[in-house]
Amino acid sequence: MPQAGDSVISIRDFGRDEILQVLAAAARMEECGHFGLLEGCVLATVFLEPSTRTRLSFASAMMKLGGQVLDFGEPEQSSFKKGESLSDAVRIVGGYCDVIALRHPWEGAARLAAQIAGVPVINAGDGANQHPTQTFLDLYTIQKVKGQVDGLTVGFVGDLKYGRTVHSLVTALSRFDCEQVFVAPPSLAMPEGLLAELQQGGVSYSQSEELAEVLPGLDILYCTRIQQERFADSLEYERVKGAYRLDRTLLRDSGARESLRIMHPLPRVDELAPDIDDTPHAVYFEQARNGVPVRQALLALVLGKV
């Protein structure tokens, strides 16, 4: 579990017990409120790549605990435009606040920032690499809707090749007793390196190209967006997009379990039909809300207030 002064950079830094402790702290935040816990503390949100929802979720978490939020501003207006180095900016902002939430397009930016900021850094996304608070909120959602993480069969569908949220959640779930099922077209399949890591760790997984085939066996289905820029051929994009679209009819016809819960990091486009939204399967809006207690817990932990 992160201690006072620690940074939260990558889910790889967290073992199973530490993950469970963070989830337990998030549950306490949700139950008790804890307003005033971070009174007098300042969070700086430094988002050098736009992500309004993540930034607002951090701000909301801080304010709900009575803390204050400073925002670094848009990258276009900030000193970065003038060629200031990341290291200099982080060192200076670190002097104005007690904790930094950093989003940056360079991979490894948060790890570097944590070495020099002088205050804890929470990684709010470093390029295609990590987004640990997303992974914690995904795990928190799974635990909340299923009671526990162990013993579940978790499916992933969509862009599994480039999907950062998928890779991090897969890594986290490999610390639990879960069966993982990967559904994607060959061009967007899970990276070989990550599969090799799962094999080395003795993690049980399977791969498929057919969503309907695997749906009946799943407890959780984690959907991700398939982005057009990944395809050179727009016809191929349309074909793949159609083949991995989930709607109420597919859920019924494939024989998916009543207890199947569907997650999505949002925003979605076409991959999840709106007719699923008001079924008990849909937990993606709850998932987005869970970002607040999870970030409250992490802020409180690294500031030594838990």
């Binding site: 990341l86 490894g108 790890r111 570097l112």
Partner: protein
């Protein structure tokens, strides 16, 4: 056949008095090892052998350098590109120490990350890698977490 082999004159190379013999170098990596050690600038006696017969790796490279002990950084670099290499320490024409090159748990600064979006390629930051396997070598960038295999290594 064995007798013929025996009768053939053996390639003779000058022995060194004090220094290091790097043996069992992967044949293709021989000149890379010479580069790592900056042998082009070495002023003491240097012997570089290539295409030498070897039961272990088929054909091998071998380098002898007079009056030189390798630094840990040099050993780490060699371990990355020639993981089977052995180091023989020579004192007064005798081998007084022999060991395999071996990677530590992490290597710093000696390799460049292959990920163009990695912070270590964007800003002046020393690279750092966790060694996830030592033979064949495989590294994970401590910053961007990209995994690299031996074909990907670009030494700094």
């Amino acid at each position: 056949m064995a007798a013929e082999e025996k009768d053939r004159p053996q390639l003779s190379v000058t022995a060194i008095r004090n220094g290091t013999v790097i043996d069992h170098i992967r044949n293709e990596a021989t000149f890379k090892v010479a580069d790592i050690l900056r042998l082009d600038r070495e002023e003491e006696v240097v012997l570089v052998g290539m295409n030498l017969p070897s039961g272990k790796v088929g054909r091998k490279g071998l380098i002898k350098v007079e009056s030189r002990e390798l630094t840990p950084d040099e050993v780490n670099k060699i371990a990355l590109i020639a993981p089977d290499a052995t180091l023989n320490i020579i004192k007064d024409y005798a081998v007084v120490g022999k060991r395999h090159v071996e990677l530590p748990d992490s290597v710093e600064e000696i390799v460049r990350c292959i990920n163009p979006d990695c912070v270590t390629n964007k800003q002046d930051v020393p690279s750092r890698f966790d060694v996830i396997r030592s033979t064949p070598p495989s590294l994970r960038c401590a910053y961007c977490e990209r995994t690299m295999r031996s074909g990907d290594f670009v030494l700094r």
